[in-house]
């Protein structure tokens, strides 16, 4: 029993004013994976396709930094190549979800009650199917080609982005300067893009980061179930699945792809939490 239980004013506020070392470290991890996704595969001497000369599930060594996988392929090369799928697909899906969500929200806020109600109901319907369930249904119906995966993830995370953007946009829409713009005869598109959008871009960017983490987790889980990215291509989720046989050995082949996922998602979470200014989580 001490003073720690008293509702003291949060000291976190003063810490948030500058960017802490934790945020820098997270940003560095994030940047590393982005660079790996962009130029990584072209820097590799071993394309990760060669097999046979090395032992299966070999431990970490100078020749194979992360050991070898179930076919004797270099795990480091596989992880770097997987970055392209994990980061690339997730980023595309997130941008689509947030972009579409924001645009629809702007339309809902700037239009009359009917369009607003119609859009909101339609989006609510999407949320009444749990995300993973929706993904399973989509994969069962359309297979797991890359465009299907992107569209599925985008559809699942669109409602969340729409709701946040709409609640922000409705508040902006009630501002005097929007009324002024309307009175001077600006069109709906102008109000949406020039009056409301610039004022909700900040919070939506923070939301984009969180949404990216959800999408990465969803796609990794799908691949882990064997329903996501299909072989021979492999994202980090598929790498964990492929090498599940190494689990009883505790081999690097299964630990490293798993660590890659964890490092990416935790880095994004920590970065958003430790950014200066308003915390994205604190608002809700």
């Amino acid at each position: 029993m001490n003073d720690a239980t008293l509702p003291v004013p949060a000291p976190a506020r003063s810490r948030r004013a500058r960017i802490g070392p934790l945020a820098w470290a997270s940003a560095a991890v994030l940047l590393f994976w982005l660079v790996a996704a962009l130029v990584g595969p072209s820097l590799l001497s071993d394309s990760g396709g060669s097999m046979g000369e090395a032992a299966v599930f070999a431990p970490m060594s100078a020749a194979h930094w992360f050991g070898t996988d179930f076919l004797g392929r270099d795990v480091f090369a596989r992880v770097v190549q997987g970055t392209r799928y994990t980061v690339g697909v997730a980023l595309t899906a997130t941008l689509l979800a947030s972009g579409m969500g924001t645009l629809l929200a702007l339309l809902a806020a700037a239009s009359g009650r009917w369009i607003d109600a119609l859009l909101s109901r339609a989006v609510d319907t999407l949320t009444s199917v749990p995300g993973k369930m929706f993904a399973l249904i989509m994969v069962a119906a359309f297979g797991s080609a890359m465009p299907t995966l992107v569209a599925t993830a985008a559809l699942i995370y669109l409602p969340g982005a729409y709701r946040i953007a709409r609640s922000l946009a409705v508040n902006i829409d009630a501002m005097d300067y929007v009324t002024v713009a309307r009175t001077r005869g600006e069109g709906r598109l102008y109000i949406m893009l020039h009056e409301i959008l610039p004022n909700i871009v900040g919070p939506m960017a923070a939301d984009l980061g969180l949404r990216f983490v959800y999408v990465v987790l969803l796609l990794a889980s799908l691949s882990f179930l064997g329903l996501g990215v299909q072989p021979p291509a492999a994202d980090w989720g598929s790498l964990v699945r492929e090498n599940i046989g190494a689990l009883p050995l505790g081999s690097a082949a299964i630990v490293m792809p798993a660590l890659a996922i964890a490092s990416l998602t935790i880095a994004v979470n920590l970065l958003i939490d430790n950014l200066p200014g308003r915390s994205a989580r604190g608002e809700r």
């Binding site: 749990p130 399973l136 249904i137 119906a141 889980s221 009883p248 998602t265």
Partner: protein
């Protein structure tokens, strides 16, 4: 007053029923209408028009989609969702053998996870900013931001590979002896609990801290109540609504987690049945499982909604 609550609760239930109906149309549209002709897909490109027409008639594809939807929905409601394309056994029988396993897994998880999460959440809120709070909160963030299969993999590495306490991958469920039962349930329950406790604990902590910031707590502190009494007697009763809401929301999350956990541990439940169905594109099975999960999900979300209405009088007048 109670009549008002009842009316609002009934309203929510009716809303959930309508949502379920819309969801069923969505599921049917995605699985049965949009992918195109199932008979063509089954026979391949070089099927003769006659066999194609015969199979279409046999599968009931020669009637318009709305009629098929009506028949399908009626079948679901009567408990006869049709036959599996792969095994040719009734889907209802396949589900009946798996459903008790899944419910048992969920029940054990809830019994373990809910008290643990409440204890940790309230504790972390009481000693906010302490070492205990920091450790528990950071661990929760870490668990929430990694996929479930990672938690499962880690659990296997620690408890099976390093400590040798449990078998690495359990095959099937055994009820022969209490020890065997414990061994077959330990890993799946542990993994599900990790994820659920993390989520529930965060929401509980936030709910209690929210109350601790209220002006009336300042009054309680001024009158000299001990911190324990402040939290347990004053803040907690007011946080019950949000906490009940958090528990129900997290339980609905269990539905997603169970898909991964049942698959990774080879647990014979409904979720692993559905994943098999998706892999083999066994549409009747996928549709039925999907509707089962969506119904459970809507039920839990509605329950969460009703909990917050009952606990918070202000929500009753919206």
């Amino acid at each position: 007053m109670n009549l008002l609550i009842l009316r609002l609760a009934l309203q929510r239930v009716a809303l959930a029923a309508v949502s379920l109906l819309v969801v069923s149309a969505l599921v049917f549209a995605i699985t049965a209408v949009l992918p195109g002709d199932a008979a063509q897909a089954q026979l391949g490109q070089d099927a003769t028009p006659e066999t194609l027409a015969a199979l279409r008639h046999q599968m009931g594809l020669d009637v318009p989609a709305p009629v098929r939807y009506g028949r399908w929905l009626a079948g679901l409601l009567r408990g006869q969702p049709g036959e599996s394309i792969v095994t040719h056994t009734p889907v209802a029988d396949m589900l009946a053998s798996r459903l008790p396993n899944s419910l048992l897994l969920a029940a054990i998880t809830v019994v373990v996870a809910v008290p643990l999460a409440l204890l940790l959440g309230i504790g972390a809120a009481m000693y906010r900013g302490s070492l205990f709070d920091r450790i528990v909160s950071s661990a929760a963030v870490a668990v929430v931001s990694v996929p479930e299969f990672l938690v499962a993999t880690l659990a296997v590495l620690v408890f099976a590979v390093e400590l040798h306490w449990l078998p690495a991958l359990s095959y099937g469920v055994s009820f022969d002896s209490p020890l065997k039962m414990l061994r077959s349930f330990a890993m799946p329950v542990l993994t599900l609990c990790c994820v659920m406790v993390a989520q529930m604990m965060r929401m509980t902590r936030a709910a209690v801290i929210d109350q601790l910031k209220a002006p009336y707590i300042e009054m309680v502190l001024l009158k000299g109540a001990t911190p324990m009494r402040t939290v347990l007697a004053h803040a907690l009763p007011n946080a019950v609504g949000p906490i009940a809401n958090a528990v129900a929301m997290t339980l609905s999350y269990l539905l997603g987690g169970v898909i991964i956990v049942e698959t990774i541990f080879n647990y014979p439940g409904v979720a692993s049945l559905m994943v098999d169905g998706v892999t083999q594109r066994d549409m009747p099975l996928v549709q039925t499982c999907a509707m089962l999960f969506c119904a459970a999900y809507l039920l839990l979300v509605t329950l969460a909604d009703i909990c917050s209405i009952v606990a918070n009088p202000r929500l009753r007048y919206r």
